[in-house]
Subunit: 339 residues, 2 copies
DNA sequence: CTGAAAGCGCTTACAG
DNA sequence: CTGAAAGCGCTTACAG
């Protein structure tokens, strides 16, 4: 037997489908007695309104889409969790889509979500203003995460890459280290460039006479290991190393250990992200913590607001707070908070 | 201006909506010339078929739902990734739903996905046969992951908890350890009980005269730490410890270190899962690896098959392979493969 | 308060 | 090959 439709309920309750609709959607305009009869009939028939039919007529899907480059790893895991929790709290479904290598794929993903979602959360290196104008139906609400896109056209929420980097470099400097080197992230990456900008700014401000040392990396553990070796090979070793993310810091730490350099006695080290591994390496890594789940939650709530008040919300650029987590790799012990 | 509909395209191409539908869906029955005109018109209007309308008429959503207890952590992150990759390869959308504390919530989640998905992937402790019969529309294809539900009624895919545990205990025994203790997982948990069953079976088979030692745990790092302390406090320390998951093994390792017990010289240790942290603790942890992403991929493919051939697929109970990953905590060095 | 009817955007027999 | 028409299951003015 096929699933019950509104017609079945109407017949069972001896009313019109219009009344069933009104009673079940609680809009009023139905006698208490009629409503009770309808609810009883719906219950008996295990009636569940057909989602597609409702979407078609109401133009609302009660679903939001999340376009992400990947679903793997600590960062995305936490991010999705935050988004999911907030969506659930608002009664929204979550449609995910990942692995958008290039702009073409991302465009296809946007198209295919068309009509299935009330709004979109997008986190992608490939997505810029031009892309959005070309591929986004103008009516579809969007919130961009960690995006370089700025300007008044779109809602954006970013991690405070710049602020976190500034604070960490200042922390290292204040802990007594005279020189701080940076292991940079991949060229062209938004997070990476913002963190480097923070490094340069903090050095200029707090240690204007110290030399800048930037070695290349690509956010992987291996690149951190190689960077650590390079740093050690220099005639003038830096007193401290700031890796643009934790995975590189972990790799760098291994390189230091393998070379017999003691951390933090011989050289200090700090990372960015506060992934779980940082607590388990020895010594435990000092790093910048960003509350990723909050990031996702905030993004979803902003999107939901935009969906509910289309056009009313003026595009905003929010930045998420961070905190410096002092563990054992940087030799200082002045905890510092910031958010 | 609102999004273009099939009517707009029909008008633009000077044909009926029926022809537009046929041309765009490639079913044939349209002249090449007409088809070209229609495609051109669709292109010009940036026409994208309305998903809800199509769902309503075709009864297909091209979406699968994933009901999970949580989205957080290495396991779910990889699982979703595997599911997502396979879904994308099949052109299916993925609707996720997590945080199903109790059966009531899970039931609500199933109901709310009704009509939005062509099939469901379910991983939940709460979901048993009775639950499924009560809450699942009989027509909705389902694949159960890591579920105790058996019998011919449902498709099930499980991790080889039992086989992995047997292999690991045998490995420890073959490495020369005379006694192996188990740090068990939470009571009532399917994975935990299967792993314990494997431990008991392997001990009975390969070390029938050795004493069985089982200390309680709940899969958390803290419970592993406490279990480690308890094990050390015993008058007869076991030669080796098999923790039912990696997080407990990591906690246990910390307890051993804190107490000055050397691993593996004084006591051997092994875990289950092969989460990333296992490679970073010192010494690196020997463990059982399960290819979680493959797990998700397989589950999705099976579901997709069931969706496409409703009723034809006979319910199956598949089990995923594993491998023993020998690192530095168990003192033996006889790599062993199994899948 | 209640119902008949139109319509959301599509697909698919059914004729021609 | 092509089109007119019915219908998927719902909601919402519009009358009564």
């Amino acid at each position: 037997m096929a699933a019950a439709t509104i017609k079945d309920v109407a017949r069972e309750a001896r009313v019109s489908v219009a009344s069933v609709s009104r009673a079940l959607n609680g809009g009023g305009g139905v006698t208490a007695a009629t409503s009770a009869r309808i609810h009883a009939a719906a219950e008996r028939l295990q009636y569940i309104p057909h989602a597609a039919a409702r979407m078609l007529i109401t133009r609302r899907t009660h679903t939001v889409g999340a376009l992400l480059p990947d679903l793997y790893g600590e960062f995305f895991s936490e991010l999705i969790r935050g988004i999911d929790l907030a969506a659930r709290a608002r009664g929204l479904h979550l449609l995910v889509s990942s692995s958008h290598g290039g702009a073409t794929e991302a465009a296809a993903a946007v198209r295919s979500m068309q009509g299935r979602v009330d709004g979109l959360l997008i986190l992608s290196e490939r997505v810029d203003t031009a892309f959005l104008r070309a591929n986004l139906p103008k009516a579809l609400p969007v919130v961009l995460l960690n995006s370089a896109v700025s300007g008044p056209a779109f809602h954006v929420i970013n991690i405070d890459n710049h602020g976190g980097a500034v604070a960490m470099v200042r922390h290292l400097l204040q802990a007594g280290h005279r020189s701080v080197a940076l292991i940079a992230g991949p060229p062209g990456n938004f997070d990476a460039s913002e963190r480097e900008r923070g490094y340069r700014e903090a050095m200029a401000r707090y240690a204007p006479r110290a030399a800048l040392t930037v070695v290349a990396g690509d956010f992987t553990e291996e690149s951190g290991y190689r960077a650590g070796q390079q740093l050690l090979a220099r005639t003038k070793r830096p007193a401290a190393v700031f890796a643009a993310n934790d995975m590189m810091a972990v790799g760098c730490l291994a390189a230091f250990k393998d070379a017999g350099a003691r951390v933090p006695e011989d050289i200090a080290l700090a990372g960015f992200d506060d992934i779980p591994i940082t607590r388990y390496v020895t010594p435990a890594l000092t790093t910048v913590r960003v509350r990723i789940a909050d990031f996702g939650r905030l993004a979803l709530e902003r999107l939901a607001d935009v969906v509910e008040h289309p056009g009313q919300e003026t595009p905003s650029a929010d930045t998420l707070g961070f905190e410096i987590v002092v563990r054992d790799t940087c030799g200082g012990n002045k905890p510092e908070q910031n958010s």
